[in-house]
């Protein structure tokens, strides 16, 4: 695929590029970056004036629900939502039915994504067989079949010995372990953050310390074994501090947060809004401040959505009964761009957090526009004004707390391996 992207503001943190330039793509690879480039006659040209031209965005935490739960989302609708949100690569979590704990399921996902999907899909296998929490899955084979990490997301590995052995074993295999860090007894039957709002609403709370304890355990296990660990969806002030301190000690820990954890507090639950119910839960303003500081100072490496589609029948119910999670692929970019507008992070930092860092944490060999790399490119229109509308979302599910809300910024075009897969 050949393509010439003209006059965009090219931002590539991997090469310290931030300038108005042209990008020439040939055969699906980045061929040239420079000013006033020309292409052979017949090459498709995109006028990128007014947009940011950045390495394709990567969402390292997505639930595609395929196989088994296709009524919520499937590989086609999920990747369509991804490219509409500017993502060229996504990593899908293993809590499908059946679980991604074997080669057959991993291959099914990879093959279906290649045949019918709109972007790259990198599966994440499970740490334990069937997410059972009692014995390791075949991580070697999972890696060979294309899984880029292992995680028991949604069902934290409770047994500390097993988690320690999993870290050691995964290090041997050369696959990253992603931890959903929550101490389950403290989560109990909680349905939202424990605090003033839960007290007023009479809903059972989940204390922050549930996440803090588990985050501590994971960093200590990684430190003790000398292995790497990635902490998913950090939501608390305490967890940010624990990770900051661990990094300062040299622990090989990385982490991500999700847009809702720096955009919404538990006040969003008022009115018993099930689209504000997720796990970990929305916290308080002090946590938001800490998450932002973590993004600013580099404690938090990446922004991922934890895109968690659920059918209306699973959300339009009493609060305690509603499923956890919200969709995020199509709102992540504008919400994250607001961090730049607020002066929390620079544009370069944000692109790093949404592309280069996820790639380097999971060895995806993407997140860069260096000559010869795969031409996964996102064109961002920072001034685009739009309203989140259920019927306009590509995702099958509409469980977003931002329905009806105005957004600023979005993907103008999404290019995967030199092919324009989305254009606004």
């Amino acid at each position: 695929m050949n393509l010439l992207i003209k006059n965009g503001r090219v931002i590539d943190p991997s090469q310290n590029i931030d300038d108005t330039l042209d990008v020439l793509v040939e055969n699906g690879l980045v061929k040239k970056i420079g000013a006033g480039l020309t292409a052979p006659a017949g090459t498709e040209t995109i006028d990128a004036t007014g947009t940011y031209v950045v390495p394709g965005l990567i969402d390292m935490h997505v639930h595609l629900r395929d196989p088994g739960l296709e009524y919520k989302e499937d590989i086609v609708s999920g990747t369509k939502a991804a490219v509409a949100g500017g993502f060229t690569s996504i990593c899908c979590m293993p809590n499908t039915k059946p679980v991604i704990d074997n080669k057959a399921i991993a291959s099914y996902i990879i093959n279906k994504a290649k045949a019918e999907g709109f972007c790259n899909v990198f599966p994440v296998g499970s740490i334990t067989y069937g997410l059972s929490g009692d014995r390791m899955s075949e991580m070697g084979e999972l890696k060979e079949s294309g899984c880029v990490a292992v995680s028991d997301d949604g069902k934290p590995v409770h047994n500390s010995e097993l988690m320690m052995r999993a870290l050691q074993y995964a290090a041997g295999v050369g696959i990253m372990v992603i931890s959903h860090a929550e101490e389950l007894e403290l989560v109990g039957e909680g349905v939202m953050n424990e605090g003033f709002v839960s007290t007023e609403l009479g809903l059972k709370g989940i204390p922050r310390v549930a996440e803090d304890i588990a985050t501590s355990r994971e960093t200590l296990l990684a430190e003790y074994t000398g292995t790497s660990i990635h902490i998913a969806h950090v939501s608390t002030k305490g967890a940010v501090q624990i990770i900051r301190e661990a990094k300062a000690r040299g622990v090989k820990v990385t982490c991500e947060t999700a847009p809702h954890y720096f955009s919404l507090t538990d006040n969003a639950v008022r009115g018993y809004n099930t689209n504000a119910k997720m796990n970990p839960p929305l916290r308080e303003s002090g946590d938001i401040a800490a998450i932002k500081e973590g993004l600013r100072d580099g404690t938090i490496d990446a922004i991922a959505t934890d895109h968690a589609p659920h059918h209306q029948d699973e959300k339009d119910v009493e609060f305690n009964v509603a499923m956890n999670g919200i969709i995020g692929l199509e709102t992540s970019l504008p919400l994250s761009l607001s961090l730049v507008a607020e002066g929390v992070v620079t544009l370069n930092q944000l692109i790093e957090q949404m592309s280069l860092k996820p790639s380097s944490i999971l060895n995806l060999n993407r997140g860069t526009l260096v000559i010869g790399s795969v031409a996964d490119i996102t064109l961002i229109d920072p001034k685009l004004e739009w309203v989140v509308q259920a019927d306009k979302l590509a995702s099958k599910s509409k469980n977003s707390p931002w329905l009806g809300k105005k957004m600023t910024g979005g993907a103008a075009a999404t290019i995967v391996a030199g092919t324009v897969v989305y254009k606004r």
Binding site: E194, T199, E200, G202, L203, G271, V317, E318, N320
Partner: protein
């Protein structure tokens, strides 16, 4: 007479001081009906009330049923634990099916906090909350305030001690909302495991470190039911130790004012949160609370129906 503008009564938090005063004063006038030989007026004749109780209840359900009948409404009781809910029907579907039978009011008790707001968005009849999870129990709050008013003639300036498991108590939350709006001060005491964070910010509330501090010079002592099934294994050692530190007995009740009222929303665990001698003692208003419950619920049913006058 002031006008009641709410279609539903889900939480005292949603009502103004004037609304609450109106509900209480109407309840006072309803009591006259309850003392007649023929305890029935035609006020809600032709109205259909469904009592939908997802949680077990004797007192509240019976009270709502009697209240409806005394106003000549047709009342139907449904306990979904022995009907559709066990067949997997959702709350919304159950409600829509009931709605197809054209009720005017659904009185519901449900284990999930906020379930009534969910229901109110689905149906076009009035919803009255007979208790939702740990959120609110407005009819209990109103009958408690009516009972206090009976004794003191006012609610303004009262010191009300509420003792027990505040975290899981919808009674405490409704009382905090109502009493704060009507000018009383609420003092809470309970094991720290049963006092939820930020409760002091929900109204005119002081959290006390001991039960004695709460009882000191109190006008009202309200004891909450300690529920073994709710408090589980982690909130307290056992009922014996609980009774030692948070039980009301003939000794510590003396810390309250001499004319203090002792109240309990029931059902009581005798010997746990209250000793029998206090339950049955001179200061106990517990049965009066139950009696007032009927009048308060008549008032609530009457006002959500928006009927013109009581006969």
């Amino acid at each position: 007479m002031a006008e009641f503008k709410h279609k539903h009564i889900i939480a005292l938090r949603d009502l103004s001081k004037a609304d609450i005063e109106l509900l209480i004063s109407t309840a006072e006038s309803m009591r006259e009906i309850n003392s007649r030989d023929i305890k029935k007026v035609p006020t809600l004749r032709g109205k259909t009330i469904i009592n939908l109780f997802y949680e077990a209840s004797t007192r509240t359900r019976t009270s709502f049923e009697i209240a409806g009948k005394r106003l000549s409404a047709d009342t139907v009781n449904i306990a979904p634990s022995n009907s559709s809910a066990t067949k997997g029907e959702t709350l919304a579907d159950t409600a829509l099916n009931l709605l197809a039978m054209k009720p005017d009011i659904i009185v519901m008790r449900h284990a999930v906090s906020g379930a009534h707001y969910f229901l109110a968005n689905k149906v076009n009849c009035s919803i009255i909350n007979a208790g939702d999870g740990a959120h609110e129990h407005p009819s209990q709050g109103l009958l408690d305030m009516l009972t206090m008013k009976d004794h003191f003639g006012r609610l303004d300036g009262l010191k009300v001690a509420i003792v027990g498991d505040i975290t899981h108590s919808r009674v405490a939350r409704s009382n905090i909302q109502g009493l704060t709006k009507l000018g009383s001060s609420v003092y809470l005491a309970g094991p720290p495991t049963m006092v939820p964070p930020g409760i002091e910010k929900t109204g005119n509330v002081t959290v006390c470190s001991t039960m004695n501090e709460a009882l000191q010079d109190a006008d009202v002592v309200m004891m909450l039911r300690i529920q073994q099934e709710r408090q589980g294994k982690t909130l307290m050692p056992n009922a014996r130790e609980y009774a030692r530190y948070f039980g009301l007995n003939p000794n510590n009740v003396k810390l309250a004012k001499p004319n203090a009222m002792v109240m309990h929303p029931g059902p009581i665990n005798r010997g746990v949160e209250m000793s029998s001698s206090v339950v049955d003692g001179d200061q106990s208003w517990i049965l009066k609370q139950v009696e007032n419950g009927v009048a308060v619920r008549m008032s609530m049913l009457y006002h959500v129906c928006g009927v013109d006058s009581v006969e």
